[in-house]
């Protein structure tokens, strides 16, 4: 069943003098439980698209429907925001309270959830991101990865159907990235629909589907293997595939009979067969 439906979606940023295209003619359907990675260079419209998905921006043309509710209908907006949760890039900009459990409770409080239910949700959300031990602590002393996990918990407390991460791992060190990604993958395994926006290609290799954007439009969608083996697409959209893919591309250009791979281990297997 589809959870997100985007039909002929277009949006541009307007000032008095000029109009800049954000996204153009986007058609995309996201199924419940899918893990989608959105790739594309800076300024290609990824974040604009993300903001259109939960009504932070409204379409100029076309529609966005979340579980059957149109974002363009103002009376739906709270429902949509509780269905589509978003985690942003900078962990420090997303903390609203000085105690972690208050921070996580902020979302459901604003949705008017019963107190007893809020308590349950906060407990569950912190458990889900592995931060229960910190519930009475302050977010300001946490590492970047821990802060992003709290930001995810704060979104989870609203019981969303879709979790969007807009470069949420960009400011983290490798350990922080791993923490956040393993939480996200676990949530996805439990049924959460995930849309991950990232510049780290190795985060994309586990996706069900990769959506590549360029100049506001969807340039390609496909499995990681399909996307990363398309040399021409990679060059055109200025992506930088993982090293193992790059090695395969170059060997293939040199005439070696290799096949596309996604991990170092797969690359080694393919190379062993060349002997």
């Amino acid at each position: 069943m589809s959870i997100l439906e985007l039909n002929d979606l277009s949006f541009s940023y307007k000032t008095d003098e000029e109009e800049t295209i954000g996204v153009k003619n986007i058609n995309l359907t996201v199924e419940k439980g899918e893990f989608i990675v959105l790739l594309g260079h800076n300024g290609c419209g990824k974040s604009t698209l993300a903001k259109l998905l939960n009504g932070l921006l409204l379409p100029d043309e076309g529609t966005v429907s979340v579980d059957g509710f149109l974002t363009s209908d103002e009376s739906n907006i709270y429902k949509i925001r509780s269905k589509v949760g978003m985690v942003f890039q900078n962990p420090d900009n997303q903390m609203v309270a000085s105690i972690i459990e208050d921070d996580v409770a902020f979302g459901p409080e604003n949705l008017g959830v019963e107190r007893s239910e809020i308590v349950k949700r906060v407990e569950w959300a912190l458990e889900a991101v592995g931060m229960s031990a910190y519930r009475k602590g302050t977010p300001f002393k946490l590492s970047g990865g821990q802060k992003q996990r709290i930001a995810i918990a704060s979104v989870l407390a609203m019981k969303p159907d879709v979790l969007i991460l807009d470069e949420s791992t960009a400011m983290l060190d490798p350990q922080g990235r791993e923490e956040v990604l393993s939480v996200v993958k676990k949530l996805n395994a439990d049924g959460m629909t995930v849309i991950l926006i990232t510049h780290y290609m190795d985060e994309a290799t586990d996706a069900d589907r990769i959506v590549v954007m360029n100049a506001g439009q969807i340039e390609a969608t496909g499995t990681p293997k399909e996307i990363f083996s398309d040399k021409e697409l990679i060059d055109r959209c200025r992506l930088h595939p993982p090293v193992c893919c790059g090695v395969m591309h170059k060997l293939s250009a040199l005439g070696f009979p290799v096949e596309p791979v996604l991990t170092d281990e797969e690359a080694v297997e393919v190379l062993c067969r060349l002997r």
Binding site: C244, V247, K250, L274
Partner: protein, 287 residues
């Protein structure tokens, strides 16, 4: 010798419950013309170390000497120190502040005592070095530039006062792949033309392997390795440090377990491709 550090120890919040030793007896020196990668987990003391080199933290114990400026002496000439050492902080695009690119880049040289026309000339030169078009960009607000352009302007703001050493704290963090590549190529070309000595902090081992000729590893405030990337990634056991190996090195090591032995100086994708080509053209196992 550009930078000499000896027995440097620094404790945050000494004699409080939050006491934390950030640097523990660190000793090393950096020669002119070197490109040094500084690596270690978050909290290993990298930033504390960098801040010492630029005189942003007052030296408590040990010695730091940058060119002829000895920070262990009373009242070292910090102004001159900072002119020698240009420091690019993390996410420098957030530190642009002036109304125009021109004013922003001229801020440094003017503060170091240059006259306005001179400073403008220096700014023009610096902006051009970073690959931006001076005439096109000088009167624009830094805030309306793209992320990659902003970072270039921030670097120009440092180059404008011609430092002798560049310190870059995660210069590629947050950039898209094309932006990362441009930034690294820019730094490599600056090393040839403008500032030969560069110290780079990075969490990306692929970048360290490709762009640095020497690596220094900090762990819990201690300097545990000071070596070349080849030796660090092939000879030392870095798994305990939770350091990721550069992908090319990882593939070489995995291949070795399967009996395909390649030279232990491969650090980059291109080097790996070349080595594989040679290996297979020579007939694989019979090589």
């Amino acid at each position: 010798m550009s930078i000499e550090i000896k027995d440097l120890t620094f404790v945050y919040g000494a004699r409080t419950p939050y006491e934390k030793k950030a640097l523990d007896n660190v000793t090393f020196s950096v020669n002119e013309g070197e490109s040094v990668g500084l690596i270690g987990m978050t909290g290993s003391g990298k930033s504390t170390l960098l801040q010492h080199i630029n005189g942003l933290i007052k030296l408590k114990s040990g010695q730091v000497k940058v060119f002829d400026i000895d920070l262990s002496k009373r009242k070292p000439d910090l102004m001159r120190l900072r002119k020698h050492v240009g420091m690019l902080f993390q996410y420098p695009e957030y530190q642009l502040f002036a109304d125009t690119v021109k004013a922003d880049v001229m801020f440094g040289p003017i503060n170091f005592g240059m006259k306005k026309p001179e400073a403008e000339e220096a700014a023009k030169k610096a902006v051009t070095l970073t690959g931006l078009d001076w005439e096109e960009i000088k009167d624009r607000s830094p805030l309306e530039l793209s992320g990659g352009q902003k970072r270039r302007v921030a670097i120009a703001g440092i180059l404008a006062y011609s430092p002798d050493v560049l310190i870059l704290d995660e210069p590629t963090a947050g950039l898209d792949p094309a932006g990362k590549k441009e930034m690294l190529d820019l730094i490599a070309s600056l090393r040839k033309t403008t500032v030969s000595t560069v110290i780079t902090v990075s969490h990306n081992m692929d970048e360290i392997a490709e762009y640095c000729d020497r690596v220094i590893v900090l762990d819990g405030g201690k300097l545990i390795y000071d070596t070349t990337p080849e030796k660090l990634f092939y000879k030392e056991d870095v798994s305990a440090l939770r350091l990721h190996l550069p992908h090319a090195v990882r593939i070489v090591k995995l291949l070795e377990q399967k009996g395909i032995v390649l030279p232990h100086d491969i650090l980059t994708e291109d080097a790996l491709v070349n080595a594989l080509k040679e290996y297979f053209l020579k007939g694989g196992d019979h090589a």
